[in-house]
Each structure stands twice: as structure tokens, then as C-alpha cells.
Amino acid sequence: MKFGVVVFPGSNCDYDCYYVLSQVLKAETVFIWHEDRSLKDCDCIVLPGGSSYSDYLRAGALARFSPVMEAVQEFAESGGLVIGICNGFQILTEAGILPGAFLPNRGGRFICCPVYLRVENNQTPFTLLFAPGEVIKVPIAHRQGNFFIDSLHQEEVKKRIVFRYCGPQGEIDSCYNPNGSWENVAGIVSGQGNILGLMPHPERAAEKILGSEDGRRVFLSVIKWWEEKKWK
């Protein structure tokens, strides 16, 4: 299978994702320029983290109008796999591909640190390799990670939560919520389950030398899912 990592002006985790996919996991991976209109036959599109357009106006607000996003939208609608990490998640909500919006962190500041996440749903293409309720450790780095969803859509989105911020034992409590996110949300999927948005950076936790390999399984799940689908 083939991964495509989209490069927007200002993206800065694009190469990190590329490195993990291509060098650590040895998966076929290409960069896709934000002005491209084709997705180069990729099977999974990664919208990487790191302040596209330096978060001018609002995080993700300008990148969502990039020409490539039309193709991503179409791809997503037809069931293609899309992962939006951090800024990528913000772009997906700005584009309306995932619901909700992001407010500045509760403390008003940027936060960079490892956090614990509880895997709430292991029935998605991105979490097959996790046990239900498993606690994993993955870093965050964002200024606007405070997920907001209006009351009208809360019931619906509750069902789609994939990762929540938690304590070392999986405790869900507001004291383990780094940014004030609604329901401690760290990641959600689309209604079809083929689009994942998550604020933490799995690519920063994909090698032992970086202190955690938990994030690697997000990508490995995708590869496994893809192979099984191919067999079917």
C-alpha cells in the first residue's frame, strides 16, 4: 500500500511522518504538494501536523482551501483512508470533513509534552492493533487543541471518539485533560470510520529511542487493515 503525506506551506511534521512511514515502517510513501490536484494513487493520506500557514487567522483555516483538499475530500467521501494529525485534524474540521472546531488550550498557551491516551475504539482501521481500553503514551504539541462540539452534535460525536486523554491508569478526569477538550477528546473518526483526526503525534512515538513505540501501531494498524481488506 502507498501513503501520501501532504505538504502545506508551513507544515513542519511532514518530514517526520514521511520518515516514520518510509524509513521506520518501510512503507511506500510519497509527498503530495498542496497545489496538486491528484493524490498519486495513494491508499492512505496523511495531513501532517505543524502550523500550515503559521496558523494565521485560525489553525487550519487557510490550508483547507488548498487545491489538494478538494481531492482529499472526494477521496474521503469515497471511503479512502485519511489521517489528520494535530494541524491536520484542525484542517479536517475547518473543511467540515470532521465535525467540531478547535479553541485555544484551556491554559491559553502552547503545550508540548507526552500524554496518556485511552483507546476508546479499536474497531477502526487506525486502531486494530490496540486492545480496547489500552493506555498508550504519545506526545502532544499544540496551542489550539481544545476540541469543541456544539450541543446538537454531541451525541453523535460521542460514538466516534477513538482516543481520550487519561491518567497513567486510564482514568478519565479533567485533571488529565491538557487543553480543556470536550469529553477529553484527543481523536475521533468520521461516521464511516475511514477518517481519523487526532491531536497527539503518533509519529513522535514510533521508535524506542524516542521513549515510546505506541504511536507506531496507528500506522501499522492501517497497513494491516489494508492487507486484510485486500485478502477479502
Binding site: 506551506p9 508551513g10 513542519n12 517526520d16 502550523s51 503559521s54 498557551r109 503525534h201 529511542i209 521513549g211
Partner: protein
């Protein structure tokens, strides 16, 4: 050419009479306004190093690792890779506009590294402010951290380390020193030169505006009528900064770029003249081709503008379109503005006329000054403090809690958590857990980085303080197992025209030089910032040291936290009854007095070698060097920073007879606190002896409390949790 009353204009721009005369003799005629402007910025202290150049020549240039020098930044070569690094100050702008001042400081140093052809992979920030209880200082501090975070996080270069101190002496002048480290294959390094007649000079990046030429508004009001005074602060644009990094590296990769230079201080003037001078050629620039953001800019304004996010390239003729397209693809300007000539001159045209025509070499050879210097009178007064006047505390626990939550000793987590210190996925030892180590993808070895300087020591003794800064940085690196490999410095002082400040400067440079030479560490780059003073006085002299080290196996890097129970705690080095210059004396007894701890370079060197060997042999479970706050702070930090905090039981009896407060809080150099498993104690002791380093078993890890005794006397027994809470809340929220 336009004629002018040059002498007056020159004076307004800060040129001395004899400098103006030198200009007359270089040109053989009266200079144009543009020429005066160009000389004034090239020959300013900031760009021309007039008062410091002579002394910088004494800095050692050789070491154990092979060094190299570029026009803007230098570095060392290891395993075929060039590590390029440099530190620079952005003190003055940050004092008046903290956020943008700091942001543009980060942007500027990143472009300096980029100009050498290396990819920037990490930044460090060394920050000094007035005390936080001071309204203005707090405002400046918060704004500066916000600015570093804003620019650094957006541009995608991790800010991995730094330091942060608060002293009243920095009330009127904060210090914002930013260092950047870059990496490139040795053969990909580029130079800041213009060469090859007919090659093009290409302007890339953001447009040019009137940013940063406030200094010239005098000229403006004199020559061009009353105009609103423009702020001399520049605004950072991390988006353009990031795109410029990518586009420049892409352009360099084509092989068609002959030379490249950042347009930093003095903008086009500096980049054109220095590129011409180092290429031993000339350049001819047409200002009508420069992309401008504002209307009606005069030629001298264009030449002096310090608009950010701009670079100048020299491109091989015939390949200019290809290069320009790369920049346009990244949404940046890319314009041919001139070409290389073999005239040896910088020739500037504007609306068809020549507005400046100066021999490049002369322009880049500013005068050198070594004015009188004199040992300041304050030194005698502040250096005869006697321990007798300080009564021993009756309650060490209360004192310790005050110490751990004090501004200078408390946790820096609230700061470095605001910085993305992981982007790039190279940070294998994170800030806050010991020395920061970066891996190099595809290699076993890694890079350790640190910045250090204790300004109070330097105030009490500029020479010893500078030596101590070097020693501390090297101790810091070796504590994780890295060999100190190269130094960059940022020398922050008051006015060089005042003999006592100038004396401080020369003393510090000599101390710095002596220590680096002794350790065999080359000084590969640096920066001088003078005039850090206001009517209330000068800052503490602050020669900030940025040091880069190599750890042969990054995976073996040792960090500070106690990893398990029942480890044996060992203090390496000798503890003397030294409290002068200590944080204890400052925080608890309100005395900024010395003498500061003595520096024993021989001992320091032995300790460094010992630590490096211990890490290599995998003997250590944890290691931390001792610095501000002394032994007790090292114990507290090691207790609280680990994955799961744990206490220790320590007995200081074996350290010899001296005051308890000196044992706990004294800041004697050349020491480190390590922990080892029982089975390694023998090897540790043997190696310590071989390196001639005193080695004392002082206790073991475990429990939920940090318990400190001296023989039968219990000094401290505090829960690790309480210590951790106090330590982490020291900086507020």
C-alpha cells in the same frame, strides 16, 4: 552623484569624525547619502565589532574535533557531517517589543545557520530578566517566551534547551540570546560569497519595507522633512521563515548556487558587501528591481532596511530561472537584482543613477578600537564577604522549600513546555530530565547541547565567571556522556566606551579563552552585544556559552532522574566551604556578594573525562552536574524529574567538616552527583581514582522522602511530592 553635507549626516548616523575622514580617503570624494548610510551600518558596533574584534582573536580555534568557520556561523565536523552552530543576541529589540523582538531573534539565527547550507535542527534560548515581581520585567519575560514559542513552534525547529535567570541587574535591559544548531554533509556547506563575473545576484524571501531603520529616522527628518518616526522593531513572519528554509535548501541542492547570505542586521548593505568581499569580486545592484512593500522608499532606506525573512543568493548564470521558480513555488519573492562584476566594488544603482560605489573590501574592514580599560571599583566592595556574618539557619526544611521554589532554581517546565521541543523527532533526551540529546538519524552517535552562564559570578569576577561558564557547560554535557566539541558564545556587556565595562569584557574574553583552550574546545562562532545599559547602570557582564558535544552512542545517554530504589548515591568532586555568589546567599540572605566559587580547570577536565568514561562503560544509572543551588538542588532534581519520582537517604558526614549550609547549598565547581547499582560501585571508585576525582558514597535512593542527615543530626526530611510541587510551581501558574 548627489552631493550632500556628508559630515553632518555621518555624525547623525553615529560615525566619528575620523571615520568620516577615512571614508573620504577611501572614496577620494564626498560620499553620497546612501554611501554614508552603508558605512554607518557596516561600521556600527553591531555589524563591525569595532571594540571587540581585537580580543576575539585570542579565542582558541583548534580542538579535539576538527572545526571550520563560515562567514556567519562555524562548527565542527564529525563522521563526515558538519554541525554548524551560532548564538546571537536580540536584547535591545526584545526590551522594547518582547514578543516580536524574541521572535525575530529566533528567525535571524535560523537563517544564519541556513546561510551555511545546513538544515537547522535545534534552537536554544538563554534568557535573563529583572525579577518577576517587577511589573515591566514580568511583561518582558512573558512576551519573550511567547515570541520564542510563536516563531520557533511555527517554523518547525525545536527549541530544545536554554536557561532562564532573574536578577535585578537586568531590569532595564533583558538578555535574549538565541542559539541554533544545523547539520549538513561536510561537502554541502556553502559560503557567503559572490563570485564569477556575470553570475546573478538574486533576492529571495519577503519584500523589503522600512523595518528596522528607525535608527535612521534622524536622517529622515534632517534630509527629507518631518516624517513620523517609525518603529525600529521588525515583525517576524514564521510562515515565510519556514518556506525560506525549505526553498533555500532546495535551491542549494541544485548545485547552481555559488553563494548565499542571510540579510540580517544591515540588510542589503551587509549581504552585498560581504558577499562581494569574501568572493574577492564586485557586485552591481539595481535597487529598482528590489521587491518593496512600501511606496516611496529612498535608496538608503532600501539598503539599510532590516526586514526579516530575506536572503541573497549568487546564482550561476543560465540557471537563474530554475532557482527563482523554487522560491516562487514556496510563495516567496525571487528577483534578479544585480550581477557579479570584477570591479571589487559594491555599485548601487537607483533610477538609472549610481547612488553608491564603494570598494567592497574597504567597506567590510571597519576600524578597530581598544579604548582604555580599568578595573571597576565595585569589585573590592562586593568580594570581601565573610561567612561569619551569616548565621546558620535553624530550619533547613523551610529554607530548602524557599530555595526550590525561587525564580532561579525552580523547574523550567512552564517554559520549555511552551516550546515544541520534539518536532523533527530527534530529541531523545527531553529538556527537564538532564542534558538534552539529539539523535542523528541513521547514526549511532548523538549531539548534546547546552547553554550556560552565571551572570552573578561574572559580575563578581568576570574572568573566573567566564571560566566557570565554560566549565559548567562542559560538565553539563559530560554528565550525559557527551564529549564537549565546540563552543559558540554571546558576549553581553555594557558600553565599551566606559573603561570599567570594557575591562569586564576583556577579562571575560580572556577567561573564556583560557578555559576553552585548556579543555581543547574551539570557539567556532559568536556574537557581541554591547551597550546593554541604561541610566540605572549596566547589566551583569554575561558571556553566555553555547556548547555542543558528541555522544558516541546516543542510546547510552544518561539522564538525571533516579530510576529505581536502592541505587548507591555518589558525589564526585570536592566540596569546599564556598558560599560566595551562591543562590543561597542571594535568595535567603539577600546578598549578591563573592568571591564566587574557584575554578579548577584541571579538576574539571578530569571530571569530564571520568563522566564520559562512566557513561560509555554503562556504569551509571543517573548523573547530574552540580551548579546553582549546590548539592541539595542536584538531589532534589534527581528525585523529582524521573519517570516516577523517588526519594533518597543521604548522610553528608563523609564530606568533611564545614558549615552545613555550605555542604548543602555551596556551589563549588567540578562536582557531579551520580547513582549506580551496587555491583558497579567498585568500578566507579576505581575509575574515579584513576581520574584523580574524589568520590564519596553519600547515600542511596528509595522511599517517598528526601532525607538528609549529617552524622546523627537530621537536617531535612521532606516528601518528594511536596518538593516536586514547590519546585514546579516556582514560576507561577
Amino acid at each position: 552623484m548627489e552631493v550632500t553635507n556628508g559630515e553632518n549626516v555621518a555624525k547623525e548616523l553615529g560615525l566619528r569624525k575620523e571615520e568620516y575622514e577615512k571614508i573620504l580617503s577611501i572614496l577620494g570624494r564626498v560620499p553620497t547619502p546612501t554611501e554614508i548610510a552603508m558605512f554607518s551600518v557596516e561600521w556600527s558596533e553591531h555589524c563591525g565589532y569595532l571594540h571587540s574584534r581585537k580580543w576575539l582573536e585570542v579565542l582558541p580555534r583548534e580542538g579535539k574535533f576538527s572545526p571550520f568557520w563560515g562567514e556567519d556561523a562555524g562548527g565542527i565536523v564529525y563522521d563526515g557531517l558538519a554541525l554548524v552552530f551560532k548564538m546571537e543576541s536580540h536584547n535591545h529589540p526584545s526590551q522594547i517589543e518582547p514578543k516580536q523582538g524574541a521572535a525575530t531573534g529566533v528567525g535571524g539565527i535560523i537563517r544564519d545557520i541556513l546561510g551555511s547550507g545546513a538544515r537547522p535542527i535545534a534552537c536554544l534560548d538563554s534568557l535573563h530578566f529583572g525579577p518577576g515581581e517587577d511589573e515591566r520585567s514580568l511583561y518582558v519575560f512573558r512576551g519573550v517566551v511567547e515570541g520564542v514559542a510563536f516563531y520557533g513552534n511555527c517554523v518547525g525547529v525545536p527549541t530544545v534547551a536554554g536557561e532562564l535567570y532573574f536578577y535585578p541587574a537586568f531590569r532595564g535591559n533583558c538578555l535574549v540570546n538565541v542559539m541554533c544548531l544545523g547539520i549538513a554533509p561536510r561537502e554541502k556547506l556553502t559560503q557567503a560569497k559572490a563570485q564569477g563575473e556575470g553570475n546573478y545576484i538574486v533576492y529571495v524571501g519577503n519584500k523589503t519595507g522600512r523595518d528596522g531603520i528607525g535608527g535612521c529616522s534622524i536622517l529622515a527628518s534632517q534630509e527629507f522633512g518631518a516624517e513620523e518616526k517609525r518603529p525600529s522593531v521588525q515583525i517576524g513572519d514564521p510562515l515565510a521563515g519556514k518556506c525560506l528554509v525549505e526553498a533555500t535548501l532546495e535551491a542549494l541542492n541544485t548545485g547552481y548556487v555559488v553563494g548565499v547570505k542571510d540579510m540580517g542586521a544591515a540588510g542589503l548593505t551587509c549581504s552585498t558587501s560581504e558577499m562581494a568581499a569574501s568572493g574577492r569580486s564586485g557586485v552591481e545592484i539595481d535597487l529598482d528591481l528590489v521587491p518593496l512593500r512600501e511606496e516611496g522608499m529612498e535608496p538608503w532606506e532600501i539598503m539599510m532596511s532590516e526586514s526579516q525573512e530575506r536572503m541573497l543568493l549568487c546564482v550561476r548564470r543560465g540557471y537563474e530561472e530554475e532557482i527563482i521558480q523554487i522560491f516562487q513555488k514556496w510563495g516567496l519573492e525571487g528577483e534578479i537584482i544585480g550581477e557579479v562584476k570584477d570591479t571589487g566594488k559594491v555599485t548601487i544603482k537607483y533610477r538609472g543613477e549610481i547612488v553608491a560605489d564603494i570598494p567592497a573590501l574597504e567597506l567590510t574592514r571597519p576600524p578597530v578600537y581598544t579604548p582604555p580599560r580599568e578595573r571597576p571599583l565595585y569589585l573590592d566592595k562586593v568580594n570581601n564577604f565573610s561567612l561569619q556574618s551569616i548565621s546558620l539557619p535553624s530550619n533547613y526544611e523551610e529554607i530548602l522549600l524557599r530555595m526550590v521554589s525561587s525564580e532561579n532554581l525552580s523547574s523550567r517546565r512552564p517554559i520549555f513546555e511552551q516550546y515544541d521541543h520534539m518536532v523533527g523527532i530527534n530529541t531523545v533526551c527531553l529538556p527537564g530530565s538532564g542534558t538534552v540529546v539529539l539523535r542523528v538519524k541513521g547514526k549511532k552517535w548523538g549531539i548534546a547541547v547546552t547553554s550556560d552562564c552565571n551572570p552573578l559570578y561574572c559580575y563578581l569576577s568576570p574572568r573566573e565567571g567566564a571560566k566557570m561558564a565554560v566549565a559548567e557547560a562542559a560538565r553539563n554535557l559530560s554528565a550525559c556522556g557527551a564529549k564537549p566539541a565546540g563552543v559558540t558564545d554571546c558576549l553581553n556587556f555594557g558600553s565599551p566606551e566606559k573603561p570599567d565595562r570594557y575591562w569586564q569584557f576583556v577579562e571575560a574574553v580572556e577567561g573564556l579563552s583560557e578555559a576553552c583552550r585548556f579543555f581543547g574546545i574551539p570557539v567556532v562562532s559568536g556574537n557581541v552585544s554591547f551597550y546593554n545599559e541604561n541610566p540605572e547602570g549596566a547589566i551583569f557582564p554575561t558571556p553566555t556559552i553555547g556548547m555542543v558535544g558528541i555522544i558516541e552512542e546516543a542510546e547510552k545517554a544518561v539522564s538525571a532522574g533516579f530510576g529505581e530504589d536502592d541505587l548507591i548515591l555518589v558525589l564526585l568532586g570536592e566540596t569546599k566551604e564556598e558560599l560566595g555568589g551562591s543562590e543561597y546567599l542571594r535568595v535567603i540572605h539577600h546578598r549578591e556578594e563573592g568571591p564566587p566559587p574557584q575554578v579548577d580547570l584541571e579538576r574539571e577536565k578530569n571530571l569530564q573525562e571520568l563522566l564520559i568514561t562512566l557513561v560509555k562503560e554503562e556504569i551509571l544509572s543517573s548523573a547530574i552536574d552540580l551548579s546553582e543551588g549546590g548539592l541539595i538542588m542536584a538531589l532534589v532534581e534527581s528525585s523529582v524529574v524521573g519517570e516516577s519520582p523517588r526519594g533518597a537517604i543521604v548522610d553528608l558526614e563523609c564530606l568533611g567538616e564545614m558549615r552545613e549550609d555550605a555542604l548543602l547549598f555551596g556551589e563549588s565547581g567540578g562536582r557531579a552527583l551520580v547513582s549506580v547499582r551496587g555491583e558497579f560501585l567498585n568500578s566507579l571508585q576505581r575509575l574515579a581514582q584513576e581520574h584523580n576525582i574524589p568520590c564519596q558514597v553519600i547515600g542511596k535512593t528509595g522511599g517517598e522522602k528526601l532525607v538528609i542527615k549529617k552524622g546523627g543530626k537530621l537536617l531535612i526530611s521532606l516528601s518528594v511530592e511536596e518538593l516536586k510541587n514547590c519546585w514546579e510551581r516556582g514560576l507561577g501558574e
